[in-house]
């Protein structure tokens, strides 16, 4: 049971982290480099999922994506499929909740890169995409990696919104944090401790490895 929960948690968090990283870096880049009206407002609005209690965010997600939701209805009418109570719902919830972390971190990291290097790359005839991957991203890597780690941690621990949209179907959509919460509230302290230990253990290992990864190559 624990194993299944863990497997699901890892699946959900892996996909969510990848989605968040890709989309977050992209959006962070646009916010850092492009000027458009309402840019800072957009940035501010993007942090909302952090401010609202996850349950409330989850509630809004249902309103949007549920079987009778604004988008969910269209999807259901077309395919007969709905995202609620599926592990994909858990991925969506985790993604939405942790996304602001990535966008903010990526934007700040990209804005901190000395633009002269990007200019030098352009002058050498390199496209914006190539410059982004070979110059901007490596030079912003510290901040971006911090964002990835934060998003990972947040997504890994997410359960309020997840619970709402993915439901708690034992063995199907129950993630680790949910299991821990359940154990704590129902007074199964031993179980809770064990689960928490596993969860934090995994998180610590992942974060630790990422940290090592981002350590500057020692040069003198």
């Amino acid at each position: 049971m624990v194993w299944q929960t863990l497997k699901l948690s890892l699946l959900v968090v892996s996909i969510a982290t990848i989605v968040i990283s890709v989309a977050g870096i992209l959006l962070g880049y646009l916010l850092a480099k492009r000027e458009f009206r309402g840019k800072n407002l957009l940035d501010a609005v993007l942090t909302l999922p952090m401010v609202l209690p996850p349950t409330v965010t989850g509630y809004y997600l249902i309103i949007l994506l549920g079987k009778r939701g604004v988008l969910g209805r269209v999807l259901y009418d077309l395919t007969g499929w709905t995202v609620t109570f599926t592990w994909i719902g858990a991925v969506i919830a985790a993604t939405v909740i942790a996304f602001p972390l990535m966008v903010k971190s990526a934007r700040a990291a990209i804005e901190s890169v000395n633009a002269d290097y990007e200019i030098a790359s352009y002058v050498m005839g390199r496209s914006e995409i190539e410059t982004f991957f070979r110059i901007t991203l490596p030079l912003a890597s510290r901040g971006i990696l911090a964002g990835v780690v934060l998003s990972f941690a947040r997504a890994f621990g997410e359960f309020g919104a997840t619970l709402m949209i993915a439901g708690n179907i034992p063995g199907k959509t129950q993630t680790m944090p949910l299991a821990i919460y359940e154990a704590v509230v129902s007074g199964e302290d031993e179980q809770a401790k064990w689960l928490a230990l596993i969860l934090t253990g995994i998180a610590v290992v992942v974060v630790y490895l990422t940290n090592r990864l981002s350590r500057p190559r020692r040069v003198d």
């Binding site: 200019i119 030098a120 352009y122 002058v123 050498m124 005839g125 110059i135």
Partner: protein
């Protein structure tokens, strides 16, 4: 062929730092941009590369229009084929020297980019630094990597912003030859910014002096160094003797105009300024000859008697300060000092051809 004619205001509207207003043509060959610090040389290069959009004007390289405010054309920098050695190098800090150079090689242009990169590093004498990151390189090594990277780009126009300012004389001397030979082979215009006379002379097929954002004199480096058109150009190019005087008389038969500076009468080439106008004249210390006797059978129009007040001994020239009513710097060889037994206090005669006296605007 590069043609650039544009205006650009720098700084805030209320406190203009500088207005660039240039019209320059650079043919195939090396065109030196010479000018004091802050004259606007880097800004001109940046506009050509597209890093900075001029307020108005037109920039054409070959038959490609890079910028045309009238036609609304602004080719982005990625599309301009410009090689650029930045004044502050701008080596990518996360790439080794070799990777930096490789990055300069446009994808698909070379069959074996690594070989080309190695070749360039070797040519610039920094092959041993190939695997080092920029912060592990000395200043001169960084500069050479930047040069290699720019040379790697196979551009339509090459912009070099003081590319050898941080390397030693002997390396510089070798690299100057390499730069010339690369230019000759590539047959594209090189714009070369420098503060260094001998670089200008050795490289420059032509030269432009930039002053306060404008091209204020154009010609071959030798021409400009010999005959700077204004006092400030003279200062920039290093004409040592400059005086303010008044036109005393025109000697039409002689083809000379006599200029009075303090108590001295100096013959200059004939000009059309009214008598009594204030003029500035410049005399290069190198154009003055020293003699111990008052020579008369000589073509030099000016023979001034004076006393040596000081002797500056420098590795590549020895300079005398001679007082003859006005103080003149005179450049001599050390052997002449020995041969003529020149000492502080010696009386000497200075011979200056009229043609060596330049009227500055």
């Amino acid at each position: 062929m590069l043609k650039a004619r544009f205006k650009k205001h720098l700084g805030r509207a209320n406190s203009r730092a500088l207005t660039i207003d240039v019209d320059l043509k650079a043919a195939q060959g090396i065109t030196v941009l010479f000018g004091a610090s802050g004259a606007g040389k880097t800004t001109i290069l940046r506009a050509i590369a597209g890093i900075l959009a001029p307020d108005e004007g037109r920039i054409v390289v070959g038959d490609e229009v890079y910028f045309d405010s009238a036609a609304g054309i602004v080719i982005p920098m990625q599309k301009r084929k410009v090689g650029y050695v930045f004044q502050n190098h701008l080596l990518f800090p996360h790439m080794t020297a070799e990777q930096n150079v490789l990055y300069g090689i446009r994808t698909g242009v070379r069959r074996n980019p690594r070989e080309r990169a190695r070749e360039l590093l070797l040519m610039l004498g920094i092959e041993k630094t190939a695997d080092r990151l920029p912060h592990q390189l000395s200043g001169g090594e960084q500069q050479r990597v930047a040069l290699a990277r720019a040379l790697a780009t196979d551009p339509s126009v090459m912009l070099l912003d003081e590319p050898l300012s941080a390397v030693d004389v002997s390396t510089r001397s070798r690299l100057l030859e390499e730069i010339v030979s690369i230019q000759r082979r590539s047959r594209i215009p090189f714009l070369y910014v420098t503060h260094n006379h001998s670089e200008a002379l050795r490289l420059g097929d032509s030269m432009m002096v930039i002053e306060k954002g404008r091209v204020c004199q154009e010609g071959s480096p030798m021409e400009i160094f010999n005959a700077p058109r204004t006092a400030s150009i003279a200062k920039v190019v290093g004409t040592e003797n400059m005086f303010v005087g008044r036109i005393l008389q025109h000697q039409f038969e002689d083809g000379t105009t006599i200029v009075g500076v303090d108590s001295c009468r100096i013959a200059a080439p004939l000009n059309a300024l009214p008598v009594d106008s204030r003029v500035t004249i410049g005399i290069r210390s190198d154009d003055i000859l020293v003699s111990l006797e008052r020579l008369t059978q000589i073509s030099a129009r000016n023979v001034l008697e004076g006393v040596i007040k000081n002797i500056f001994i420098d590795v590549d020239k020895t300079e005398l300060m001679v007082s003859c009513g006005i103080d003149l710097k005179v450049s001599v060889t050390r052997s002449a000092v020995r041969q003529l037994n020149l000492k502080i206090g010696s009386t000497v005669f200075l011979l200056i051809k009229a043609r060596s006296v330049h009227l500055l605007e």
